[in-house]
Point group: D2
Chain length 343, copies 4
């Protein structure tokens, strides 16, 4: 079986290898991969940055966004069938800690993830925990199936508050930021303001997925937010950059009583004047991680079925398996939306 493996603990360090077929355990299903897509997490692993050096032990088959077909079902599992079209939630939860019991499996106390802690999906076949598999709705376009995981991040972030009929800002026009724009538009936001900073390629995509206004480095974000809303400010701001300065930007763009949801990951601490930016304005700040299991998946399916969610502009590149490294280098270069790989 062919697999894309982080072989060496160094930037790049990735080979396409022939490896042994995985064995389907009693609580697993064996999935024949059809399409995979490259996540920012995979870029961290490829680039071998600080997070990756702590989290990853090579050799590892990486990747966690996929669609495929069940070809074998573990003997303890009665709710999946051979031939099922599946995608999957990458976070592996214990099911028994207090968070799992509260319905928050996405922040399970014992969380791991395939493609990070265990072998991933950049390969022809993988044995995955059956409880992590999601049977795809047949009405969803095939090319969107592997995107349900990152789209779930966007959906989880955007639906952490009400956006229908509201004024919304999205900080960051990477793949998940672009998806968040598309999601907010599909949900009937009054106006969607995207902040793209300097990447012209992605700011152009932001317009294509429906942003009403695209702001860039040098714009007075707070002033524009007020001008667009009769002096009130944005009802909701979604931070999807991981840039420390964006936190304060988001706080200033938000209206009194508004929401700032944080999905981006930060390389350094952030210094915040809390009185004016949080307390006096009764701002609600929500940390967001992953996707709710399975409510976000159900909601994501519903959004895709509404016919209002056009992700086509976001899928900018499609490569063959053997050209994976080209795909990864394209992603690293920044002039891309989402990149999908046919297995």
């Amino acid at each position: 079986m062919k697999a894309i493996v982080k072989v060496r603990p160094e930037p790049g360090g990735t080979d396409i290898l022939d490896v042994e077929m995985p064995v389907c355990g009693p609580n697993d299903a064996l999935v024949k991969m059809d399409v995979v897509s490259i996540c920012g997490t995979d870029v961290h692993i490829y680039n071998w940055d600080k997070w990756a050096r702590n989290a990853i032990k090579p050799p590892l088959i990486y990747g966690h966004e996929f669609s495929g077909t069940v070809v074998e079902v573990g003997k303890n599992i009665d709710y999946l069938n051979e031939g099922d079209s599946v995608s999957g939630e990458c976070h592996i939860y214990c099911g028994h800690c207090q968070q799992c019991k509260l319905g928050n499996a996405h922040i399970c106390e014992n969380l791991t993830a395939f493609g990070v802690s265990t072998p991933g999906v950049f390969c022809e076949y993988q044995a995955l925990p059956a409880q992590n598999l999601w049977v795809n709705d047949p009405k969803i376009p095939k090319e969107y199936l592997s995107l349900q995981d990152p789209l779930g991040n966007a959906v989880h972030t955007v639906f952490s508050t009400d956006v229908t009929g509201r004024n919304v800002a999205i900080l960051g026009c990477g793949p998940i930021g672009l998806m968040a724009i598309a999601v907010a538009k599909a949900a009937g936001a009054a106006q969607v303001v995207a902040v793209g900073h300097k990447n012209e390629y992605r700011m152009d995509l932001a317009k294509k997925v429906g942003a009403d206004h695209v702001l860039r480095a040098g714009d007075d974000f707070e002033k524009i937010s007020k001008e667009l809303t009769g002096g009130v400010g944005m009802d909701a701001v979604f931070e999807i950059t991981g840039n420390p300065s964006a936190v304060l930007t988001g706080m200033r763009m938000a209206r009194k009583g508004g929401t700032l949801a944080l999905l981006g990951i930060f390389n350094e601490p952030v210094t915040i004047e809390l009185n004016d930016n949080v307390i006096f304005k009764c701002l609600d700040i929500k940390g967001i991680y992953g996707r709710r299991i399975w409510d976000t998946w159900i909601l994501t399916t519903g959004l895709l079925k509404s016919g209002k969610l056009n992700l086509d502009p976001i899928i900018t590149h499609r490569f063959k398996f053997d050209d994976f490294l080209k795909g990864m280098e394209t992603m690293v270069g920044g002039n891309s939306g989402k990149i999908i790989i046919d297995i």
Copy 2:
């Protein structure tokens, strides 16, 4: 000043009369009417049904849906200006009862309404309580301005629960039912199923405003609801007919843990088997009245600004002031959507 007046306590009983100009009290604003529209409430008054006989004391200028221009501001009022384009919330609230203090002015303990308890807007000028006036957003299409009141009913009903990405049924394809379909579609509902019973004209409008499926008398509503949702049932059902049998229909269409919102008014009591239809399925039933003041208006404005809400098919007729009775007869006939009257 010309006015449409319910003169005689009988069906019809409506004349166009010359009446005295209203006087602008210290807490009022005097509004020059531009466009008014006919509500189901006005039809009750016209038809002189049981509700109207109890509620209305002729002679009365009726009507409460309008857009117009402020031409005089009462001396206690500092937040309106001559020339403001305004529409208005018809419910007059006291501001001091417990409901008002809780933020529920729409169910004020001392609620009255202009066009019902006090003179309405089917006339050239009216003095209305300043606190009931809503300054229109200049970005909203002119022809939609007088519709914000009934649209607010639809928005209040639909947003009593989450519809984005959800499967939604709307019982009734009268003007507010049609608006509810348009609102649910604008908010990105996964599927909108409209139940139109027998009125072909309105079922055709339901398709035009975006219903994914339009059901009619004789269809097996519960079975179809399950077929469209993988056996689950509708996440939310909105009852906008006032037909007693629709309550049970709604309960059966809803999924376990779903919502049934009731906006229609019933002429007779309804008999319900509660165990299977409400308790075992953990159904949430919400009585809905009017619109929240002013959150629903703000949300309605936001939805209209999203550009996703196409009400054009719903405005089926437009009459001149002197042809008001033609408009009313058209509305009574049932082969119409919303009817607007130029003053």
Copy 3:
């Protein structure tokens, strides 16, 4: 092993028998019972009423409220240990239907229950699905452990809305009604009004668990509700009788914008005038079934740990295993709160 078995399809029809030890399946745990308690469901089974005739196939060991000790753990289970003190959620859920995926396992599409569909806990040992077992918090008084299941019904009902600082009415002073009174008081309700109808014994218990006012048949419930709340009405009403007339009573006691939660099960349909009682007052009616799995259990544990929840007056009788039928007859007689049985 001794067990209490519904042997014959008739009223009573219950014998204490020697039966074979149950076998612990791979996904089960074998529990040695310590204390069990009698639920209203068990009374239905004993009385062999219409519901029981449809639901139960004798012979059946019944009972589902218990506390006990794990003595054997199935081979697939790694999250329980021999010696664990456990109680259990009686509802067996599939874990894979849409309701389970939404976090609503208590209304699973494939719901069954031990003590009803499969053998119950009125016996010395029972093999129960491991996923239904709840490891008891050591700080909870021993005599309360088997009560967590019915207490969970009360907690689920009362916390379907906000009660802290609110005016609350509880219709019904049976064991779960009494628990609801205690829960509402523990949560800091402003006033708790209990409606006990005619059972003096239970109305006396209502006072003992903290009801501020206990009303009885003949009282003008609506008038008193308004008098106690400055004319406003009750913020929340909890229906725990199953008496059809109580539904209308509850609607009339509730304030505009209030909540009516329905836990009681009705033997016949209920006829309701919806306009004044639901729609014009924007009442929110919530069907309640079972307990949320596991959020309600976690919340119930928290309440018990607060030290504010005194259930002692509710535990009115305690019998030995061999005197089970005495206990059941006492329960049937109505002059009891909760009855517990030492195994």
Copy 4:
């Protein structure tokens, strides 16, 4: 009329003066003060710190916490009567901005406050905007009436999330922190952990109002939080100190998916590592300001009527009007709870 006036722009700078009687405007009511209490805001004004130097223009009668009696009603006002026992919301809102229209008058875009922007209540009579007055419930103990304003801060903070049956930490044992402890206990929190740092006097009060555990400088707050909750952490943490280090403390004490509400005001920016403390744990951070108008007042009244809220230990000192400066110096010294002044 006697009044306590900030006369000089300097620390202290406060005299008791004879001043002219205030005039009751058409939208005002004239209130004869009965009892007033000293807020932290008043201490800022007395100490003439940075905030006060920017916000206050001497001469100013300060103070905003009071109870009194209406002795004259402005001619536009029909909802108050002479003889009404009243307290008042100090924040003066416009009623017409978007925040007011959304029901968020406490964060009105045009917010001012009596005792800060306009003359306050440390005097014998004051003319206050009628819309700011709250008619006291006769069942509330007299000595608690002037405390409803700061108690409202505590109630607003604590009820920004669910506390009943939950594990709760309160950072800060000043008067509002102490009230928050009492409120959380009254609402049936599972455990209330108070962090008092170094003030022994106030940590002793924390125990008296019901804190289950009182932590102090040097304790390992995070470790203790986990030990008290089976390794999970606190469901909710309320920051009521304004000490920058407490923000991080609060984040670490909170469980995954928990809430951190911020009421304290900070003299300097706070530096936060967001990944582990906010994002990966899905923390919800809520800025809190003032009290909701009037929902918080209604809820506060309900809590006081529950009989579960014992504020007696918090009222540590009571002074006569002429001894106001002694009261203020006691408050400045830190060895006090709440100080009330009889007019």
